[in-house]
């Protein structure tokens, strides 16, 4: 019971990502939780400054705006289950807006 797992998250330099660029958080573990559930816990309880694409997240694998590198593999934050300590980074080929949010897929001609 009351197991915790450690999230290691790549942050932007101005937001706690100084030094090696990663910040660590301990999160209570629940079977069947997604990486997004872990980030939600961090945001709500530990660090409200963390940025990940969530304001319009569908949470159902439909919008694909939550793509990130999870333990070195590209995946959806909302559909990847957490089973052990987890490292989360932005997609390396994309410019970073802040923390895990990249400039990907912006649609505007206004």
């Amino acid at each position: 019971m009351n197991e915790t797992i450690r999230f290691r998250i790549r942050r932007s330099p101005a937001d706690g990502g100084a030094g090696n660029g990663y910040q660590e958080y301990d999160v209570p573990f629940t079977r069947g939780m997604s990486v997004m559930d872990g980030l939600d816990y961090i945001y709500e309880h530990l660090d409200g400054s963390l940025a990940y694409y969530d304001h319009a997240a569908c949470n159902q694998g439909i919008c694909r705006r939550c793509l990130a590198r999870i333990d070195g593999q590209t995946g959806l934050l909302c559909q990847t289950l957490v089973t052990a300590d987890t490292t989360v980074e932005p997609i390396p080929t994309q410019d970073v807006e802040r923390d895990l949010v990249t400039k990907r897929g912006r649609d505007r001609n206004g």
Partner: protein
Amino acid sequence: MKTIRTDVLIVGGGGAGFRAAIAARQANAETLLVSKGPLARCGASPMAGADLTCHGLGMRQAGFFGEPRDSEEKFFSDIVHQGCFLNDQPLAERFVRDGPQRLIETLEWGCEPYLCDERAIFTSGVGIVDAHLSEARRLGTSFLDDTAVLELIVHDGQVCGAVGLDIRSGEILRFDCHAVVLATGGWHKAYTPVTGSKELTGDGVAMAYRAGAKVANMEFVTFACNVPVWPPVWRGSIVTYAMSLMCGGTLENANRERFLDQYDPETVAIASSTEWNKSFFSFATAREIRAGRGTPHGGVYYVTGDTPWPEFEARALRSYPDWKVKGADFSELGRMLRDGEGVEVAGAAEYFEGGVLVDDRFASSVPGLFAAGECAMSLFGANRVAAATMEMLVSGAIAGTAAGEFAQSHPSSEPPEDRVRTATEAIEAPLRKPSGHGIGHLRHDLQEAASAMLGPVRCGEELEAFLRMLEDARSDRLPNLGLSTTTRSYNKEWIESLEIENLLLVLELSARAALERTESRGVHYREDHPITDNDGWLREIVMSPNRDGVHVEHRPVRVTSLRPPSGTQPYLEMVREMMCAHSDVGGHH
């Protein structure tokens, strides 16, 4: 501050917004559509199953088998009975009449149907919105995504602009325009689990209300039944909702009793095979949970029931090959059903009947301000069975045309600088508060409370407690919450601080209306008033802001051809009567 000028400003990047943009462009108005999330991948529209309903003759016009015995009159009568006679009948007539054309053009613009029945095609929400987005683009609409419109500017008696926020950069944007169509959807994020995408926070309804517009029917919220509440990764998915319609199955409480057996078998049978399922099963589920017979995570068990596993599995796999649904993997869910464990499910807020009060052209009570789709008052009255996806297209088309014409015949003056400044300051205010985080926590508390006290089953005492909680949140908790960082770039706490004001407002209006309606009808069930009162309550509750707070009026429902019933009767009897009044046309609607 960047200023963007357009004739018509459309707020919302779902089906209603795109269809309104198409119509406004066809009316030759310069049109800008602003969406808080990614175009066609946010809101409720792309999450929908989705069905697109139309009467049988319209189905035939569109090239499907349709039901030859069907007629506009029958479909209209069914919709009004399903809405328990609280429908705005002129708008319901428009829905029936315009459906065939909306269906035909949706197919022409590239949406592919998978299946059809007597009154609907079944396709994906993604397919519907993609078809409309590409048509809106082709006609020359301009777009801005990841941008929230946050305040409307009304001057000289008409809407003349709005102020918004580019969520990624944190830049404030000013929009100068001659007409606005709100298409911002519902306030799904006020509840848990959240079924729509997370930016649905009632912004359009709240903005319109603050700008002086009337809102109506705020007490009615439809809960999709059988939505997983556990494990966390499945929360809010509608996969088991759809499965229960396609494959059958039943519900058990924590004592493993099939609690639907205590209800009238005909009611249960109709609810199981039609889209009455949402209101009836969510109601029955909420009652079990409230009676203390809920599962560990606050639901009931969805089990395969009398459907043999091979048959259940075959039907499920037909729609979800390999137990995969879009990006999600449900093979473990299949195992749980096969092994008889069941899946913990409950009703989850899916569709908001309440919204901006509109007339026959989907104009609000503020000149130049229109509303379409879910953020407008629903034409389905107290309960929706036919498709909201069709409602968004019908209303979007009417509102877009009306706004396009209005913008050209009623040019507005420029928004006054001081009004723009006041709106900008309000948006930036959270950045200037002392630090101290916790906005996510407050939102979480609100979601839990709304789900418990403003769910499918209500009572006066709880509604009063809920209203006190909202007041506490507004006056005690919110003022003390600052932000963890004052960066402007993708600052989640900043965005949530702005959203929470809107959530508090729409929840307050909804709870007040629920308290005011001292009867039970459609999706609104009052434990302390379990009677449907056709003598006293064939009225809509209409609310508008005034100096002392909320002004409440009652508007008798507008009737065209179907005379409402009189007298009072127990809620479940009324439900049964409305179900059984259905015409001789089959299908799910």
